[in-house]
């Protein structure tokens, strides 16, 4: 099938809430969530690394769960809530994980960072990782070719410990 024929193929309706805004879209079924975000949605924070679910740079949250957006066809996500790095915080009002990444210098080139942060936010919400060892294991789906892993683990551990302190304070009150 040539490109013109492909473009003439029928589109499918899909309603997605992206970072709190509802979008009613008509798209071709072969468009991945990643390409929808970076193309028509112009949300370029989410990065395309390997495009094969191996590097985690495209990690976003669907209904709060982290997934590789490169391996999801957007048409299969009708009715879901998508959160990208742009929906987590702003430069003036950063998400605690974003703040921790800045404080701990948890990046070098920054290309994997949006995926790392989305993944870390989900990891904290999941609540299965309790030790540094478990943080490292449960961040294994996010590669960093600069090798900032030590500082990434530091940043996540820092937020986790702050959350534990807040939880203990709230429990005491």
């Amino acid at each position: 099938m040539d490109i013109a024929t492909a473009h003439a193929q029928p589109k499918t309706r899909v309603a997605l809430t992206i970072n709190g805004h509802r979008h009613d879209l008509e798209i071709h079924p072969w468009v991945t969530l990643l390409d929808l975000l970076r193309g028509p949605m112009q949300l370029n924070g989410t990065k395309k690394g390997c495009d094969h679910g191996q590097c985690g740079a495209c990690t976003v949250l669907i209904d709060g769960e982290r997934i590789n957006s490169c391996l999801k066809l957007a048409v299969t996500l009708d009715g879901t809530n998508v959160t990208t790095i742009e929906g987590l915080g702003t430069p003036d009002e950063m998400h605690p994980v974003q703040k921790a990444f800045v404080e701990h210098d948890a990046y070098q080139c920054g290309y994997c960072t949006p995926g790392q942060i989305c993944s870390a936010v989900a990891l904290l919400r999941e609540g299965y990782a309790r030790s540094r060892e478990e943080i490292r294991e449960m961040m294994s789906g996010n590669l960093c070719r600069c090798g900032a892993y030590t500082n990434i683990a530091d940043a996540i551990q820092d937020v986790m410990e702050q959350e534990v302190k807040v939880g203990m304070r709230e429990a005491a009150e």
Binding site: M1, W30, H52, L71, K72, E137, S140, G141
Partner: protein, 338 residues
């Protein structure tokens, strides 16, 4: 990715009708393997049937103490479900040994069973592969075959099944429930995946138009003595070179029931229940485990690059059974093998 037509099925009937209308259509669930293969131009479906809306996301308790896992239950939901962590910890452990948290959130139970091999030749359409293109030959035989099969291979294919979850399901003797044009049927796990033989293009024994609806687990006595030991080139997020799902039912130091399934070594999760049965009544000792390992690997054959897998599998079987007997299963976050 090549263009394709798309059907969003609302019911199982919709999905089966869409498959009947187009025999070359492929079912899409989590997509973690199929979409990847479509990007590599290995899978080229003209039609996709999206089954994600089907009501197959429940984990049900069965009256006999077993569990019925809907085909669309995600790998993560299954691994962390209390009934699984308490009664089938071997399954939970095997799932957490595989892939990454992102992939486990998307990948489904049915899809895990249907994932294709990660043989490099299968993934590369510029090379011959009897599984991808029947009759074209096998690039791995006489080629680079470090990750390939040591058991049950054929002259046409030496690929391995890549799943961790399926290795545990084989050890637990799960039942696969499928539904198709001829109605529902149960497939015992041992009969679900095939050996390559003359038809490596067929991974399993499902018939045209069938869809996996659930995987059923029987009540079992392995919650105390089990271990999933996975050996791989890096400690996380890599496919197994060799993996072992070991489960024991022990009474007064003697084996009542012993299960060993191997991953990374054959075209299907490798299990020999006849060999296992011979070891019932024997003491749960290293000597017994070594004898069983020798028995399981008696027919093992290397392809050159993967010769190391034979001694590695032997040691892994013994170690996993020792871990199971001691009640100290391999921990999947702490990679140290004790």
């Amino acid at each position: 990715m090549r263009p394709f037509s798309y059907t969003r099925a609302e019911t199982l009937g919709d999905a089966m009708a869409a498959l009947a209308a187009n025999p070359t259509a492929r079912v899409l669930a989590g997509g973690t393997n199929l979409i990847d293969l479509m990007k590599y131009d290995v899978e080229r479906p003209a039609a996709i049937v999206d089954i994600n809306r089907l009501p197959l996301k429940e984990i049900e308790e069965l009256p006999d103490g077993g569990l019925r896992i809907g085909a669309l239950v995600s790998n993560a939901a299954l691994a962390y479900h209390p009934a699984v962590t308490e009664r089938y910890p071997l399954l939970a452990s095997a799932i957490l040994a595989g892939a990454s948290p992102q992939l486990r959130n998307a990948a489904t139970t049915g899809g895990n069973l249907l994932q294709r091999t990660r043989c490099y030749y299968f993934y590369d359409p510029s090379t011959p592969c009897n599984k991808r293109e029947p009759g074209s030959g096998c690039g791995a035989i006489g080629g680079v075959n470090r990750i390939h099969a040591i058991l049950g291979a054929s002259e046409h294919c030496i690929a391995t099944h890549p799943s961790d979850m399926c290795v545990a399901l084989a050890a637990l003797a799960a039942i696969v429930e499928v539904e198709g044009p001829d109605g529902r049927r149960d497939i015992p796990f041992a009969d679900f995946h095939r050996l390559p033989g003359d038809h490596p293009e067929r991974d399993n024994t499902m018939r045209q138009g069938e869809i996996i609806t659930a995987v059923r687990l029987e009540c079992n006595h392995f919650a105390r003595h089990h271990s999933y030991l996975k050996l791989r080139d890096r400690l996380s997020y890599a496919f197994a070179l060799v993996s072992v799902a070991a489960a024991l039912d022990v009474k007064d130091g003697m084996i009542v029931d012993i299960r060993v399934a191997l991953g990374g070594v054959a075209h299907k999760p490798w299990r020999d229940s006849l060999a296992e049965a011979e070891f019932a009544g024997q003491p749960a000792t290293e000597e017994t485990f070594a004898a069983l390992a020798d028995r399981l690997l008696a027919g093992a054959e290397g392809q050159g690059d993967n010769d190391f897998k034979i001694p590695m599998a032997r040691k892994a079987i013994v170690r996993a059974l020792k871990q199971a007997a001691a009640g100290t299963p391999q921990v999947q976050s702490d990679k140290r093998i004790r």
